[in-house]
């Protein structure tokens, strides 16, 4: 049994950074809100950055299983670790002005973001159901608190109550499913479960219900239909940087776990789950795209759009191939850049105008041309138009499904992409064509403006020069051995 704790150094640094942020907050005088905000956010960014650098420099060639497969420290988890740390830094940076204006408790706020990143990292590493479960809980608990943190209006209270209650129920369902799987198989380690399943003949009811419940629990975190109902309300009510965190970090972590779980456990029994998952993928895309049409609040619209995006991701998981997995990872990276860029613009608008309806974007091309351009780029990327990340990654996703003759699923995916183009274009039209009376320039805060530029550059980089990203995802998927062997 390998219990070499030096493998977990990045995780220890991350946890330590969380405590350090709390300590810095404690040491500074309470009255100096502004200084506390600046110092704690700087500490958080530093801690996240050090974690990312240490992981990327020391674990490039590691392929170890820790404690007989409780955790896997390999290229796959490294890719996600770096991605999550990046998301964490972006969210902390986009929070600085927001926290100063709208929230108290900066120390706790940034520390919880770090703990959320830690939970997500452990999810991507877990190779065992109980470890995965407790990691999901770490991520979820941090998010529950973060959603409820802002100085409350009724929407925030509703969002946080809904999130906690539904999250607790989905957790209970998942835990029950895990207990059933353990009852039948006598193990919760992915690799051992995979071996048992491949050898098993027909599935009995306990096995099926156990899997359905575990996938339902994960589906809730992913906001996969029919477990998506919470997403719009929570997205709307949460502080906007936390909405961005939920849309990127928690989704990417759930995908990381789902992908490893299905590859290691389900690969030998793909005929059992391919069709149900394909139908859910189609339902998720259709529901997400159609419900986005009548939305007037930009955060609700992005919530439905993120539901549809999860449907696209599932299109790459259903084929059960390493090509599909590759496309999924690439899409997750591109989607993180794109969504964070869009949310950065939304935050700037919200801070300057105090609202976040689509009508508030009217005339933005005159008031802040750069912001309008970045928002347009992000929306086009979400819709899947060329030169942006979304086009390339969606193309890979759809090809991987065609390879396994799932043409009908691709037809649904393309159709919903076209529908989604309509509601993304609506915002673009608002920004460029609708006339407004107020044409005064909007001042763009330096830090947020810079962040928007960086994320926008990332969106385009994935779209036109994907080589370095593809190298990383290629190396990552080699650890999904059952799929590589196919």
């Amino acid at each position: 049994m390998n219990a070499d704790f030096t493998l977990l150094i990045p995780e220890f640094i991350l946890a330590g950074a969380g405590f350090l942020v709390l300590l810095v907050d404690l040491l500074l005088p309470r009255e100096q809100e502004h200084r506390r905000n600046a110092f704690t956010s700087a500490t958080a960014v530093l801690g996240l950055a050090v974690t990312g650098v240490v992981a990327a420099t020391t674990q490039m060639n590691t392929g170890e299983s820790f404690h007989d497969g409780l955790l896997f420290i390999d290229r796959y988890s490294l890719l996600f670790k770096v991605l999550f740390v990046g998301i964490g830094i972006a969210v902390v940076v986009m929070s600085v002005d927001y926290v100063a204006e709208k929230m108290s408790h900066p120390g706790e706020y940034y520390a919880l973001i770090i703990f959320a990143v830690l939970g997500a990292t452990l999810m991507a590493e877990s190779g065992e159901l109980l470890t995965a479960f407790i990691s999901i809980e770490l991520l979820s608990f941090s998010l529950y608190v973060l959603v409820g943190l802002s100085r409350g209006d009724a929407r925030t209270a509703e969002a946080s109550t809904k999130y906690i209650l539904l999250g607790a129920i989905s957790t209970a369902i998942m835990l029950y499913g895990i207990s059933q799987l353990f009852g039948v198989m006598g193990t919760t380690r992915f690799t051992e479960m995979g071996g048992l399943l491949a050898a098993a003949g027909d599935w009995d009811m306990t096995l099926i219900s156990g899997f359905v419940m575990v996938l339902a629990g994960l589906g809730f975190k992913l906001s996969m239909a029919p477990f998506h109902m919470w997403a719009p309300d929570v997205y709307e009510g949460a502080p906007t940087p936390i909405t961005a965190l939920i849309a990127t970090l928690s989704k990417a972590a759930a995908i990381a776990l789902l992908l490893r779980f299905l590859a290691e456990v389900g690969s030998g029994a793909v005929h059992e789950w391919r069709m149900p998952l394909a139908v859910l993928a189609a339902a998720t895309m259709v529901i997400g795209s159609l419900s986005a049409l009548p939305q007037t609040n930009i955060k609700r619209l992005l919530a439905y759009s993120s539901i549809a995006q999860i449907g696209f991701v599932l299109v790459g998981i259903v084929p059960n191939t390493v090509i599909g997995a590759n496309a999924v990872l690439l899409h997750v990276i591109g989607y993180a850049f794109t969504n964070l860029a869009a949310f950065t613009v939304v935050i700037i608008i919200e801070l300057k105008l105090g609202k976040e309806t689509i009508a508030d974007f009217a005339g933005l091309s005159k008031r802040a041309p750069v912001l309008a351009m970045i928002m347009t780029g992000a929306l086009f990327s979400l819709a899947g138009l060329p030169i942006f990340a979304g086009f390339l990654t969606k193309f890979y996703l759809f090809t991987s499904a065609v390879d396994k003759s799932l043409e009908w699923l691709v037809v649904v995916a393309v159709a919903t992409s076209v529908i989604s183009l309509y509601y993304y274009i609506r915002i673009v039209r608002e920004m460029y064509i609708t006339e407004t009376e107020d044409e005064s320039k909007l001042p763009v805060p330096a830090l947020l403006g810079l962040l928007a530029w960086v994320l926008f550059a990332g969106t385009i980089a994935v779209g036109i020069y994907p080589a370095p990203f593809v190298d990383a995802t290629n190396a990552a998927v080699t650890v999904l051995t059952p799929w590589v062997a196919l």
């Binding site: 955790l71 706790e108 919880l112 703990f115 809980e137 608190v145 409820g148 409350g152 306990t206």
Partner: protein, 170 residues
């Protein structure tokens, strides 16, 4: 003997659990829950899981029920009048019964496939070794989860206080 005890404890647990969902008075609900939890602890004893039974009684039967009762005492009951007037209970009942039927059917139908062990007691020493050696990682993660929950409880509780203290007349 074991079988008779099983039916007594199982029946007690079931009746108490039904009481939790059917009673209109939320305090009675909490007390019914206590009985159900104790019944489950008894079932654990029958399975030679003494440690689990002890934990079940201490944590669920003791701590959790007391926290629920405290929460009920400290919040004004009028806030919850809406919660008991749910008109959609027939739908909830149908869905719950269907799920129960499905899971019970699965458990009974597939009982032959379950891993069966020779039931015997596990010493607390072995449990401790398992928890702190083989399962040290999830155990450590759980401690951070608790820390996050603690931070959350304090921060959210305190922010209500700063905004004029409407909610804490207890």
């Amino acid at each position: 003997m074991g079988l008779i005890l099983f039916y007594i404890l199982g029946g007690l647990t079931l009746v108490a659990a039904l009481g939790v969902v059917t009673t209109r008075n939320i305090v009675y609900g909490a007390l019914f829950l206590l009985v159900a939890m104790s019944g489950v602890a008894g079932l654990f004893v029958l399975l030679f899981a003494e440690f689990l039974a002890l934990v079940q009684l201490l944590i669920y039967g003791g701590a959790i029920i007391i926290v629920i009762l405290f929460a009920l005492m400290l919040t004004r009951t009028t806030d919850f009048s809406v919660a008991t007037e749910h008109r959609r209970w027939p739908m909830a009942a149908v869905i719950s019964l269907a799920l129960f039927g499905l899971l019970a059917g699965a458990a009974i139908g597939d009982s032959g496939d379950y891993n069966t062990y020779q039931r015997s007691g596990i010493s607390i020493e072995e449990l401790g070794k398992g928890l702190f050696e083989n399962w040290a990682v999830p155990f450590e993660i759980a401690s951070i989860v608790l820390l996050v929950a603690l931070i959350g409880a304090i921060v959210i509780g305190r922010s209500g206080e700063e905004e004029g203290g409407e909610g804490d007349q207890g």
